[in-house]
């Protein structure tokens, strides 16, 4: 986990949730910025051959593929997970646990 200076005062869960919500918004701004870069970079004419492995990647193919992978597999799931955790309540978590127990008796 990231290091945290010992002098930093602890957060309450509500404060942590508010901070998560802010981080989710910051990530959405990154998502938006990456989308702009993606849309402004022309696709190479032989993109399909490079993606299929018949030719090596060039820089444009690499950048386009990296943006798409990072958006789909990393940033969008991260934004969803942070937003969920920023809004969840103890009552919802207790209800989820009861439902989980019904489906999976320990």
């Amino acid at each position: 986990m990231p290091s945290c200076p010992k002098s930093t005062p602890p957060l309450t869960p509500a404060e942590a949730q508010a901070a998560l919500g802010m981080v989710a918004l910051q990530l959405l701004a990154v998502v938006d910025r990456l989308g702009q870069i993606y849309n402004r970079l022309p696709e190479p004419a032989d993109l399909a051959d490079r993606q299929e492995g018949r030719k090596p990647y060039d820089v444009a193919t690499d950048v386009l593929a990296t943006i798409e992978c990072v958006l789909n597999d990393n940033l969008q799931p991260a934004v969803e997970a942070l937003r969920r955790s920023a809004q969840v309540t103890d009552a919802e978590l207790q209800r989820d646990y009861r439902e989980w127990l019904k489906r999976n008796p320990l």
């Binding site: 399909a48 993606q51 492995g53 593929a65 990296t66 597999d73 799931p77």
Partner: protein, 133 residues
């Protein structure tokens, strides 16, 4: 947080190669696999080139679209690792065609296709005296 190590990248590369060989063994283009699995072409290309490790749910969908069980990719990866010397010395991977067919019967047809496809990618393939019968 743990930084991505060289070992992680090796793992991504060998899993990616296993995925690529499985797809080719099924006669699918990357576009066809994309349409069948719901993953984008760029994502599949990233996985196959080892630039990104697929999440388990995405891996399951890709293998489902190829009508393969999820462990097929790990079996294929083990073969790739042996063949490339990652899992064992390269000289240890010298199956004859007969051995590969026996392996196929034991491990399933898809894995045999992977072995055969991999050997075709190697210079000399089955005709190479070191690996051939």
């Amino acid at each position: 947080m743990r930084a991505k190590t060289e070992a992680d990248m090796e793992e991504s590369r060998s899993l990616g190669l296993a995925l690529l060989l499985l797809r080719r063994s099924r006669g699918l283009t990357i576009n066809q696999l994309s349409a069948a699995s719901g993953s984008s072409v760029s994502n599949i290309s990233c996985y196959e080139s080892g630039k990104q490790m697929p999440r388990l749910d995405k891996l399951a969908r890709l293998l489902g679209a190829m009508e393969l069980p999820i462990d097929a990719v790990y079996r294929a990866q083990r073969l790739v690792d042996q063949a490339t010397g990652r899992g064992a010395p390269r000289e240890d991977f010298a199956p004859s065609r007969q051995d590969a067919l026996k392996l196929a019967q034991e491990a399933g047809k898809a894995v045999a296709h992977v072995v055969l496809a991999f050997m075709e990618l190697q210079a000399g393939g089955w005709e190479d005296g070191r690996r051939g019968e």
